[in-house]
């Protein structure tokens, strides 16, 4: 038996190292294109082929970025944007999860709620934005609600889907083992729906960032979106680029965090072994 364990461990070690080198290699490959683009951009800008008014050179963008951080301006804008995104995501995500669970668990509530929610889902968010501004003003409330609305649907949809697809055969096992109603939820439904729920969280996050940008571009006096809008009116292309990069980074970092969570929580899944 012990030889078996040793063999198994060895196998795991080998897999671990090959996994790491594979990861490093794929990261290297992935960074080739961006690096080439950046170098070309800088070069074309330096010789004057790209108009400096519209394409600030990468070096200038970096310098502007440093300036904005040092002056504290960046911190201020970022903080307010992050707060909005977080509040909106938390509110919309929570409600999406809640409604997804209710509708996913009860056939009746599906019949009552799902058609309406599905109908609302097809309305483009941008079309609703003017209404939100009329109802809730230009203040924080309309922004947070818009973000919440964006985050709601993906999480609702994926939670509902995940719960609906729980294997009937495993449900029979839960009945045989006499799982209580609570155990059925915590030990069967939730773990089974977890892959979908995590996917829903990732989609909800990216929807939240998008709605944040929309809300801040349309009317705000602070925030990264405002910073971009403000810089545009003064033709400060470098600041616009910095803003865009900040949004891109924020999206990427939050997505990576959820992926990390996924790798940890879903390590039992076949598709996560490599």
């Amino acid at each position: 038996m012990s030889t078996q364990t040793v063999a198994q461990n060895k196998h795991l070690v080998i897999r671990e190292t090959t996994k790491q080198s594979k990861l490093a290699k794929s990261a290297l490959r992935g960074s080739v294109l961006p690096v080439v683009v950046l170098i070309a951009w800088q070069a074309l800008g330096s010789v004057g082929i790209l108009p400096a008014q519209l394409f600030s050179s990468p070096l200038l963008i970096v310098m502007t970025f440093i300036d904005l951080v040092q002056s504290g301006e960046m911190g201020m804008h970022l903080q307010i944007s992050l707060t909005r995104a977080f509040l909106g995501f938390a509110l919309g995500g929570f409600l999406g999860l809640l409604f997804g669970v209710i509708v996913g668990m009860q056939k009746k509530s599906e019949e009552y709620l799902n058609p309406s929610i599905q109908m609302l889902r097809t309305v483009p968010l941008l079309a609703i934005t003017p209404l939100f501004i009329m109802w809730f003003g230009f203040g924080e409330l309309s922004k947070v609600l818009l973000i919440a609305l964006g985050a709601f649907f993906p999480l609702y949809l994926q939670t509902f889907l995940g719960l609906r697809n729980v294997d009937k055969k495993l449900y029979d096992v839960a009945l045989i083992l006499e799982f209580s109603r609570r155990e059925q939820i915590t030990k069967l439904m939730i773990p089974a729906a977890l892959p979908n729920i995590l996917l829903g969280i990732r989609l909800a996050l990216s929807a939240a960032w998008m709605c944040l940008v929309v809300a801040e571009l349309l009317g705000a006096d602070r925030g990264v979106g405002f910073m971009i809008q403000d810089a545009r009116s003064f033709m400060q292309t470098d600041v616009v680029f910095v803003g865009i990069i900040i949004f891109a980074l924020a999206g990427k970092i939050s997505d990576s965090l959820v992926r990390l969570l996924e790798n940890h929580l879903l390590k039992w899944q076949d598709s996560f072994k490599a």
Partner: protein
């Protein structure tokens, strides 16, 4: 508490929108307390369906099934079930799958789980996830999971089908030991005539379309039984004859 099973005039029809399949037809069967019964019959004759009715997983049928003096209407821990497929929870490792909703932190449960893991020869794989196990290993986990609950009645649906000959013999012997020790009432579905003679006191031979009981062959041999003995061979030919009544159906044996 008596665990006698009484199956009385049980009929089962699956109804879909456009067709209905009559699977079980007025079945009668008594399984005495502590008895070991095997059910054998062609694929699709309704063996799995019958076990699910006994387990209480499906209450949409005609007739009655009594367990002890209670009518079966819902599943119960007292009637354990080993499914034809392993049906492990993919997100739980081996030991947590066996424990299920029982707390592994409790020393006595921990100990029994460990004992069962060595019984089914899975030492060293306690922390492995189902995707890392072979079909046979998964099935052994499912067997351990059912045994942990010490049910009064154990319903087994081709539990050893996916195993190699060595492990199969080992687990057949282990099952007999558990049966003798715990006086568990066993109802085991199999497609292996030798297995049915080796294990049970009574072999129920079923017929297909619709599922009926064709014959009940009592095996009055002392345990442990030897497959090579003359009496064993005789029982084999008796059961084979019963099964071969419909030569067309012998070909599609369930695997």
């Amino acid at each position: 508490m008596v665990a006698t099973l009484e199956i009385n005039q049980v009929s089962k029809t699956f109804k879909n929108e456009n067709e209905s399949v009559h699977v079980l037809d007025h079945l009668n069967l008594t399984v005495n307390n502590g008895e070991f019964v095997t059910i054998i019959g062609p694929s699709g004759c309704g063996k799995s369906t019958l076990l699910k009715l006994i387990a209480g997983l499906d209450s949409d049928f005609d007739g009655t099934i009594m367990a002890g003096n209670l009518k079966v209407s819902a599943p119960s821990k007292d009637r354990g079930f080993i499914f034809q497929e392993h049906r492990l929870f993919p997100w739980l490792n081996v030991e947590k799958n066996i424990a299920g909703n029982l707390p592994l932190k409790k020393p006595d449960i921990r100990k029994r789980v460990d004992d069962l893991i060595s019984l089914v020869k899975l030492k060293g794989f306690e922390k492995a996830y189902p995707r890392q196990l072979s079909g046979g290993m998964s099935q052994r986990v499912a067997i351990a999971r059912a045994l942990l609950r010490n049910p009064e009645v154990l319903l087994l649906d081709e539990p050893f089908g996916a195993l190699d000959a060595f492990t199969r013999t080992h687990l057949q012997e282990a099952l007999l030991e558990i049966w003798e020790r715990n006086k568990t009432t066993m109802v085991l579905v199999t497609h292996d005539i030798d297995e049915s003679i080796f294990l049970s006191r009574k072999v129920v031979v079923m017929d297909a379309k619709p599922g009926r009981i064709k014959a009940i062959v009592p095996i009055d041999l002392p345990y442990p039984r030897t497959r090579t003995s003359k009496a064993f061979q005789e029982f084999r030919s008796v059961i084979l004859t019963q099964l071969e009544h419909h030569p067309a159906e012998v070909e599609d044996w369930s695997i």
